[in-house]
């Protein structure tokens, strides 16, 4: 009877059940719906590129006449487009510009020049021709700063100042060039900004810091000297979304000038999906709207942008081509000469495979900030909704840098180093609180912050008192100068000096230039003095020898030289060489051992003593009433060769080949060398019981008895775990290979009968 046809429901596939439970199937995947803005690129309503200029004024932009311009069109037409080059850019075939992006003979400057004259639709039309590999090539060339870097998020659920300071210090030590915090409760803003400022400068001088809050409040923090950059200047690709965000391109442009006037570096924020999420996509694709955002950002005079969908990332990732489109928007920003902090911040996937694969698109080419917020704290403490990669992924990330010889902007540190800077930072903020009359930070809080992983490890504070003090601090006259003085007076001259130097740098304004960061000696690196000069292999950013040494020396790295110390012992006193071993004819099993057996090596990979292994095998052979002859093979360290040679000598034609690390074979005369009766390649799974069973089976083959192969455990992880040791044990055995005939060994052992 056909069960499939008669059952009321389909049978359940065990495999599909397992797949259903995989992390990847916790994601939402939907079909495109252009009317709702749920399409990442090439939307049916997206306009074709066009530009008409009359008497120096744009009268048509991407198919829309000036009479029908919305606010963004006006801004792009009048403030963003470089009309001196626009005619040439718009006339060039998009495919040609796409090819120039990946052509190493076209310099970055030429692309910047052409992109300056491109309309939003034209920019989109260029990247339409490119696959992700080509976009990565383009990004490697177009990134503003030659040296890649990284930004960290530091927040915590209880907004604890000592923990914020300690985490900021550790993030700074780990190499993050910028640290961003935000608030759960807005009134904490001045305190959180202060805590990461003091903490970061305790970790490493020169880290730029910001506190993401409402625009006007953010400007106030900057004016007090509590922040050195701001990236909360959000822009949107449609007029209605912009207005819902309570801004216009002009108010944002003014704001960026206002920040710069107070010596604060600014970066705009945009990204795929925000308009659809706000219900104002107006039927356009995410990439087209992002191109509009980027031209507004460019026209407003921002030095850079954080894009790559940012907090909306799950939306493009629910759609086909979403991850490619997000890379495309990073590339478009770089083509406009903008510093790019390329996303990878908000939770984007349940799947570790998917999130890592996506990261590679920015990690491999390198961007100005690969993450616009690597969560340097556990994701549950991330108040940005961030944490796609978090503090628990630090070691994974460091290994990725080491694997690919890629500078991902961080470095491995030791626990000791981390504890030292965390203590310094927690004590420094404690001192500032005490000196400025804020609610005191106790010794217990400092101690907890030093060793904490998350806010769950922290004692509670008096929220009401903290907020009242924060209000007073924001409204009052105390500024960053009072903080510097407090640090001096309470014995933190180094942290104070770093804070003062940040103030001096603000006076010089060098970090207002594109893609600026500071190194640990407060030397500015930006697109001006560290411009990306990638022009193919051998050019652009390359790891210096010093940086490569830093990246490869993970604290977990061991010297391989003492890996096999456990296997090297006092040579066996039970084994003695008798003389050359010749072929025999009487019933026997030859046990052929490798050249290091019992001498240069004395234990198998799992630590079984060679004497015990031999005794087990001989016991197995004896249990079938047969005798064994032990032969040491000198001409090869290869398991098959050892067994094969043993079989040629064996009176029965049966031999057991045994490498010193424990790998074993049962061989038979007449079989090809690489053939066998039974092979036990996974030496880590072999026990004394297995060796005894191998001995018994060999004897049974010799006696012509029916024999069931010895069952073995298969542990595919063993190879992964022990491969270095395996290689070194084999190397040591191979070192003992000599041009000598096989020698018969005497083994001082009596069957246990």
């Amino acid at each position: 009877m056909d069960t499939l046809a008669t059952d009321t429901s389909l049978p359940k596939s065990r495999r599909f059940q397992i797949l259903e439970q995989r992390d990847i199937n916790r994601e939402t995947f939907v079909e495109p719906w252009p009317e709702a803005g749920l399409i990442v690129a090439d939307g049916p309503s997206d306009p074709q590129p066009s530009l008409r200029v009359d008497a120096g004024r744009v009268v048509e932009l991407d198919g829309r006449s000036r009479a029908k311009f919305d606010a963004l069109d006006f801004f792009i037409a009048d403030h963003s487009l470089d009309l001196a080059v626009a005619e040439q850019s718009m006339a060039l075939p998009s495919l040609q510009i796409a090819r120039q992006l990946v052509d190493i003979t076209t310099p970055r400057a030429e692309i910047l020049r052409l992109a300056g004259g491109c309309t939003p639709a034209k920019l989109v039309d260029i990247v339409r021709h490119m696959n992700v590999l080509e976009m990565m090539m383009g990004l490697a060339k177009m990134r503003a700063r030659r040296t890649p870097a990284n930004q960290a998020h530091v927040t915590n659920r209880c907004e604890h100042p000592a923990l914020l300071a300690a985490d900021a210090a550790e993030a700074a030590l780990r190499g993050f060039a910028e640290i961003e915090t935000t608030v759960g409760v807005a009134r904490y803003a001045p305190f959180n900004a202060l805590a990461i400022l003091v903490g970061s400068q305790a970790g490493r001088g020169g880290v730029l810091t910001q506190c993401s809050v409402e625009e006007a409040l953010g400007l106030k923090l900057a004016m007090k000297g509590l922040t050195s950059y701001a990236e909360t200047l959000s822009v949107y690709g449609t007029e209605r979304a912009f207005v819902d965000g309570d801004d216009t391109p002009w108010s944002k442009a003014f704001l960026s000038a206002a920040y710069a006037s107070r010596g604060v570096k600014i970066r705009f924020t945009s990204g795929a999906g925000s308009e659809a999420l706000m219900g104002h996509a107006e039927g356009y694709s995410m990439l087209y709207l992002e191109a509009r955002c980027l031209l507004v950002t460019h026209g407003a005079g921002s030095q850079g942008v954080q894009n790559g969908s940012i907090s909306c990332i799950a939306l493009p990732e629910s759609l086909p081509g979403g991850v490619r489109a997000v890379l495309a928007e990073n590339l478009l920003a770089a083509m406009l000469g903008l510093e790019v902090a390329s996303g990878n911040d908000a939770l984007a996937s349940h799947s570790a495979i998917r999130k890592t694969a996506k990261l590679m698109l920015q990690f491999i080419p390198g961007t100005d900030f690969i993450f616009s917020g690597y969560s340097a704290i556990p994701k549950r403490d991330n108040l940005f909704g961030g944490g796609n990669f978090d503090a628990e992924d630090f070691d994974d990330y460091n290994v990725l840098q080491r694997d690919m010889q890629v500078d991902g902007g961080t470095r491995p540190i030791t626990e000791e180093q981390a504890l030292a800077v965390r203590l310094q930072a927690a004590r420094a903020i404690q001192a500032v609180y005490a000196e400025l009359g804020f609610p005191l930070i106790s010794e217990a809080e400092v101690e907890a912050a030093v060793v904490a992983h998350s806010s769950e490890d922290m004692p509670a504070r008096d929220v009401v008192a903290d907020l009242a003090a924060a209000d007073q601090f924001l409204a009052g006259d105390q500024t960053i100068l009072a903080v510097v003085r407090a640090l001096h007076q309470r014995g933190f001259p180094q942290v104070a000096a770093h804070l003062l130097e940040m103030g001096r740098q603000r006076v010089a304004g060098d970090y207002l230039q594109p893609a600026a960061i500071f190194d640990h000696r407060f030397r500015v690196l930006s697109a001006i003095n560290d411009p990306n000069d990638y022009a193919g292999p051998g050019s652009g950013y390359r790891l210096s020898e010093q940086r490569w040494q830093e990246l490869q020396h993970l604290p977990q790295v061991k010297s391989p030289r003492d890996f096999i110390a456990d296997q090297v012992g006092v040579p066996s006193t039970k084994l003695a060489e008798l003389g050359p071993a010749g072929p025999r004819t009487q019933p026997e099993v030859v046990v052929a051992v490798g050249p290091a057996f019992g001498t240069a090596l004395t234990r198998t990979i799992t630590g079984l003593a060679h004497d015990d292994v031999l005794a087990a095998i001989l016991t197995g052979i004896a249990s079938e009433g047969l005798v064994a002859r032990i032969v040491k093979v000198y001409r090869s360290s290869d398991c098959a060769a050892i067994g094969h040679l043993g079989a040629q000598l064996s009176g029965s034609g049966i031999a057991i080949g045994l490498q010193s690390r424990g790998t074993t074979i049962i061989h038979k005369r007449g079989l090809a060398r690489l053939n066998n009766l039974e092979l036990f390649p996974q030496s880590p799974s072999l026990t004394l019981e297995t060796y005894q069973a191998i001995g018994r089976n060999a004897a049974r083959y010799a006696l012509g008895k029916t024999t069931t192969p010895v069952p073995v455990q298969v542990d595919n992880w063993a190879r992964l775990r022990l491969i270095v040791k395996t290689a070194l044990l084999h190397r040591r055995e191979t070192e003992q290979v000599q041009d000598r005939p096989p020698m018969e060994l005497r083994f001082d052992w009596e069957p246990d009968v």
């Binding site: 001096h488 006076v507 010089a508």
Partner: protein
Amino acid sequence: MKSIAQTPDYPLIESAADRLRAASGRPLVDITETALHAGELSLADLQISAETLRAQAAVARRAGYSRLAANLLRAAELTAVPNAEVLRIYERLRPGRASYAELLALADTLEFHYHAPECAGLVRAAAVVYRERGLSQM
């Protein structure tokens, strides 16, 4: 003394260390821990000056970043505008906050009171578009 704007070698903190001054007029070389301990420093001593912003604008323009340069010139103008006034102007530029006439008046204040013609130009451009697009206060 040569103006820093004429020789904007980057970074300025290296090429013009002896010529840079804070918004207060205090030379950069006098912004020291000693001065801090002596109680001589105020917040204005840690603020960037209009002249330095113009020099940075020249650096940006020379490197091909003309839109950033224009922003830094607007920033230079805004150094003369007090914090509260900057916040007020920003608020007025947000959608639906000011009428066309109010925005033009704001532009005049910027141009004639604060000598900020570039910022005034930005506000005037906004006024026209806001009126066109219904972003002015009704």
